[in-house]
Symmetry: C2
Subunit: 390 residues, 2 copies
């Protein structure tokens, strides 16, 4: 059964319909797995084939359309009634002759929505160009409009129950970083440290279990610290090597990222210490500025002001909003802390601030995952804001 009360899904659907009305969308075709989960509870690793949730202004309940063998996943994890769970036949999977969108077209026609304005998530992975072509071919009287990130924006402000889930994810994140620090040591293989990290992610705490993160452990050592987004090898850690860690705790698909930099020795190079000092001080000053009413770009400007006295230049965004998600990304693809993003912060938005620096001669990552409160912010996890020496 779905993890939230049915009334909470109904509120989310109502907010979605409100935005649909504002954007002139009658039917929203949702293929992003986190958006599908958010509106119905659907939770299965079935997003490697085409599936969707349809929200129509005129229909009370959304419709799930997916592969036949996943229909029972929908029955087990959503609140949807059986008439709103529609299955496409298995021979449509990876077929040259058929496409799952054919069934989606049939559903839209059968419900009389084929002359409506249909919103599609144009730039979400899991919505391919081919799916669009099939919809266009099968629904010649429909008008297609962009509904990209519409549901993502509804997700921005979390409910009390969602915040509780984020905090549980934060508790797991602390344990995940503990597992990393304990297992990353001179002589250990990177893959064994990764294994211990995954163990902590999935196992969670004694009170509540963990879930899989939308991004596997990113853990760059030695030369690889000049870049983010690499995973592990089976190399052994050597003395006086830096390790960048970008990890997460997850509770029921809600993510709390956690990032730190380790140095396997007592004397990090001067350039790393200098970088750490500037970045940590800059992050603290930026956090002090966080409160409802300030905009995403104002936060980033504060960060730039705080590090202006140094030689550090960070071209990439300082952070982004977080919440429920599926691979390949735990970011919500809405708020980006950077110039031009004028989104005003509201209470119960949750953000990941990650001032990562990846130069050829030094890499450094540290972060804060926070909730915006009525007057400021609170941390979702507690972990010392410093280089981890070992």
């Amino acid at each position: 059964m779905p993890v939230f009360e049915v009334s909470e899904y109904q509120e989310r659907i109502a907010k979605t319909k409100q935005r649909m009305q504002q954007q002139g969308i009658d039917v929203l075709f949702i293929s992003q797995p986190a958006n599908m989960n958010y509106l119905t509870g659907y939770d299965a690793w079935s997003f490697y084939v085409h599936q969707c949730v349809l929200v129509a202004l005129e229909a009370e309940e959304p419709v799930w359309v997916g592969r036949g063998m996943d229909g029972n996943c929908a029955r087990l994890t959503t609140f949807l009634s059986d008439e709103n769970i529609v299955e496409w036949p298995d021979h449509y999977v990876h077929s040259a002759e058929h496409h799952p969108a054919e069934t989606m077209v049939e559903v839209i026609k059968a419900r009389g929505w084929d002359k409506k304005r249909i919103g599609v998530e144009m730039d979400q992975f899991y919505f391919t160009h081919r799916t669009f072509l099939e919809l266009e071919k099968g629904l010649p009287n429909a008008t297609f409009v962009d509904g990209d990130t519409l549901v993502n924006r509804v997700r921005l402000v979390k409910s009390e129950r969602e915040i509780e889930y984020m905090k549980r994810a934060g508790k797991i994140a602390e344990r995940v970083m503990d597992a990393a620090v304990e297992n990353i040591k001179v002589g250990a293989r990177e893959c064994d440290a990764a294994a211990a990290i995954a163990y902590a992610e999935y196992s969670g705490t004694e009170e509540f279990g963990g879930d899989y993160p939308a991004i596997v452990p990113l853990m760059m050592a030695g030369e690889a610290t000049k870049t983010p987004h690499l995973t592990w090898t089976d190399k052994r850690y050597v003395a006086d090597e830096a390790v960048l860690l970008e990890l997460a705790g997850v509770y029921r698909r809600y993510h709390c990222p956690i990032a730190r930099t380790m140095f396997l020795g007592k004397e990090p190079p001067q350039i790393m210490r200098d970088t750490a000092e500037v970045v940590i001080d800059g992050l603290q000053k930026t956090l002090e500025f966080v409160r409802p009413g300030v905009t995403a770009e104002q936060i980033e400007a504060q960060w730039r002001k705080a590090i202006a006295h140094s030689t550090i230049v960070k071209e990439s965004r300082l952070g982004y909003s977080i919440g429920v998600n599926y691979p390949p990304d735990w970011g919500e693809q809405t708020i980006s802390l950077r110039p031009g993003d004028k989104t005003e912060l509201e209470p119960n938005m949750t953000l990941h601030l990650i001032p990562g620096i990846w130069y050829d001669d030094v890499g450094f990552e540290i972060d804060a995952s926070i909730r915006v409160t009525e007057n400021g912010y609170e941390h979702l996890f507690e972990y010392p804001l410093d280089i981890v020496l070992k």
Copy 2:
């Protein structure tokens, strides 16, 4: 540096160009992460933003285009020369004003490919409808054609080195299943068993480390055995409950799936025993039939013949080809063992046969991951073909 010899990538590129010529494609725009890896070695968890590899008939080397901060990932993991690593600016990420495809358009123009026939992977996730619209807008003189699964088909027949990697993945798969069987027991939490499975996946063996699978552990217990594709909860296993396991061993992105059914007791229900007997016998008879020259649909027909005496009906495909991959799927999206697939088997193709049964009253999964040999087949992992009683 890339994990294969540069000459192996060059052979793969040559085969890709051959198919491009056959299909009338001058430039292939590749966004599927496994295809990017296969042709260049590129290996990073950066596929949550838009990136591509361009293969042009007239250019010796492919071009990688990705996010600025991932340029060093390309420098560290591919054989590409610096002029063929092109970065898009960070403010294009999840932006309402800009799209990463703008840089891809610029690269195509700068190299004089903007009047060519450009193949795109129309139905691959990671190639969104919006990306297509941006290409179409930016390259009005190009002709776009479907290049979907073109590289996937090149991947079908593995090299000796790739087979060695698949066998290593098979060794890891055996350990992964051992970890599952050891940790799934009455009273244990599902999340703790999942943690032990992930540990085995990432850690690998003492001789070689593991890698992350394209699909997290799928582990359905009790009522959930009527469906595939669910992950874990923090419930505790209870006596006389069945557990379906769909797991994998992975070595350097090469996958060997492994699936078994456990029963937490000594006396599985009669219906499960009957199902197991039919399915295992059917799988064995099907495997005996596997050899070069037979077609995918002939193999499936053999399976149907072998179970025809029973009441079992399997509507979904019996299996598919496997190899290098990234989330969300370890299947190659080429061969499907089902009616209509006339692909002839060749030596060094690798297949996953998984006759999974998910009825409301019984679920049962068992599998074989195999390599097609000169005369028949060999198993990629060794594990008893039976229900695991515990």
